[in-house]
Symmetry: C2
């Protein structure tokens, strides 16, 4: 079981000496929505100055790497395209690795489409697809299904609709049609008491039920993103730290990949959530206990200075 | 365990003498979409002639009882409004029984709205609610949430959308906000090889994940519909038969309410599904084995004649 050590000025030296590579989540760690977490850009810059390799590892599928790069630079983060591992890119990597040669039905956004375009994989589905009235007789009027589709790929889609669930689950009736999900995050970390912003996991759930199938998941906590990085860069798991705000994705991902883990409290998880697991969790749950925690990645920048 | 007896001309007499009241499912038993199952209207007429009380018990929430009555009469079924127990009506019964005095956020269709109007319960949500573009910043631009909402009621909604999942799960952040689902049917029985028509269960699943809450379910296999009928009519469970096409809703509902059960093979379940459960099912699964089965409710009409 991990130690759940509070990071501070006294132990930051030992901490920094324990890794060469940093994998960090984005939403809830580096920014919340369109606003940077104070000190986050400084923390990344200082880690780079200390010679650490940085990879941005995000379950978010809404942006292509090019679009992410614009967001990073707009919020003053040092970042290069080959440091960015989003699940939109992971989907393209996965399909390319299996030499997929059919067409993908995307329940998701333009970010995924751009990454598939980059590797010349055909796709359809991005954009609105709503019932034109509330009482279509789908059975007798029919639904446009494309016989070329060989995979259903579900990511975040705020155009999510009944028609999309129907098409996805109809394609998935073919046993050889692949079912991929970028991630299964239940919600986005919006940090507001009155608002829940449903995540990809919520959309995936409805297609799972309608199709009676389970997807291959690319995002954290599944190790696929780590494998994709390790395939392209020389990194050692035992000299790598994963930074995140969610226990059941980021921290569990770190544990599943044999990495050290640092929890920041700017997103979903709180100190109390970890203490709850320490007290009442199963041995499986206890994989979600991080090695270190700190209130914010901004604090790390301060500790490095002192 | 039930006997799974094939209904035929020889045993139909014993069968008919074993009940006074018939509860029958509609979709998959009496009709498929907008087309009546051959002989179904005749079977109902003959059962009524034999003095049997009939109740139409459907998980479908899309129509009010008045709309159902039009469908019944259009397909030449003998039916009265007080014989119809749809989950749209069940929702109104449930809310009235608990003296609900707030407003209901409906993820569903006009049928539910009409039944709530009949008992003067306020509601909103029916109709389209789509993102106006694919990249709304909900966190900073805000979402219109109505402080009067005290219940989220999920039924079938082919206008289902991301915005609706977001609003439903945001309302459900309040612990005293009720969460009701008309049913959790995974799919509709459309009888087509290439098309899956997702059911209410698929929509409920996404809201369950986003809200991290479980709904109170009104539809089969939960006994609520039987209780609602028994509250208003003198019926004895041991002298009642439930006719249906789905094992995990209709037949299990019958078992849960202490009724006899008849499976028809015009909808979702096949003989093989039952044999699978007989061979490999758990004792819990075996509650889904019907007492009788026949290929169609139309055959029952023929057996009665002979």
């Amino acid at each position: 079981m991990s130690s759940f050590t509070h990071l501070n000025s006294a132990n930051v030296g030992t901490f920094l000496n324990s890794f060469d590579t940093v994998l960090t989540d984005c939403d809830g760690v580096l920014w919340l929505g369109s606003k940077a977490v104070p000190g986050a850009a400084a923390a990344i810059a200082k880690l780079k100055n200390l010679g650490k390799k940085i990879f941005y590892v995000t379950n978010n599928s809404t942006k292509s790497r090019d679009e992410y790069l614009k967001k990073f630079h707009g919020l003053n983060f040092e970042a290069n395209k080959d440091e960015i591992y989003s699940t939109s890119y992971a989907a393209a990597c996965y399909l390319q690795d299996i030499n997929f040669d059919k067409k993908v039905y995307i329940v998701g956004s333009r970010g995924i489409a751009e990454e598939l375009d980059n590797v010349k994989i055909k796709h359809s589905g991005v954009g609105p697809d709503f019932a034109t009235n509330g009482s279509i007789d789908y059975v007798h009027e029919g639904v446009n299904l494309d016989p070329e589709i060989g995979a259903v790929l579900v990511g975040f889609d705020d155009y999510f609709s009944y028609n999309k669930i129907m098409k996805a689950s109809s394609y998935l009736k073919k046993p050889d049609c692949l079912f991929l999900a970028t991630n299964t995050d239940e919600t986005f970390p919006v940090g507001l008491d009155h608002l829940t912003m449903p995540g990809t996991g919520s959309l995936v759930a409805s297609i799972k039920v309608a199709s009676d199938r389970n997807p291959i998941v690319l995002g954290k906590p599944v190790p696929y993103l780590f494998e994709a990085i390790a395939k392209r860069h020389a990194i050692q798991p035992e000299r790598t730290i994963m930074i995140g705000d969610r226990l059941n994705t980021d921290i569990l991902f770190g544990a599943n990949c044999g990495l050290k883990t640092l929890l920041v409290l700017t997103g979903i998880a709180s100190e109390i959530d970890v203490e709850e697991i320490q007290k009442h969790g199963s041995s499986e749950d206890k994989k979600m206990i991080p090695d270190y925690y700190t209130d914010s990645i901004g604090s790390l920048a301060k500790f490095i200075d002192n």
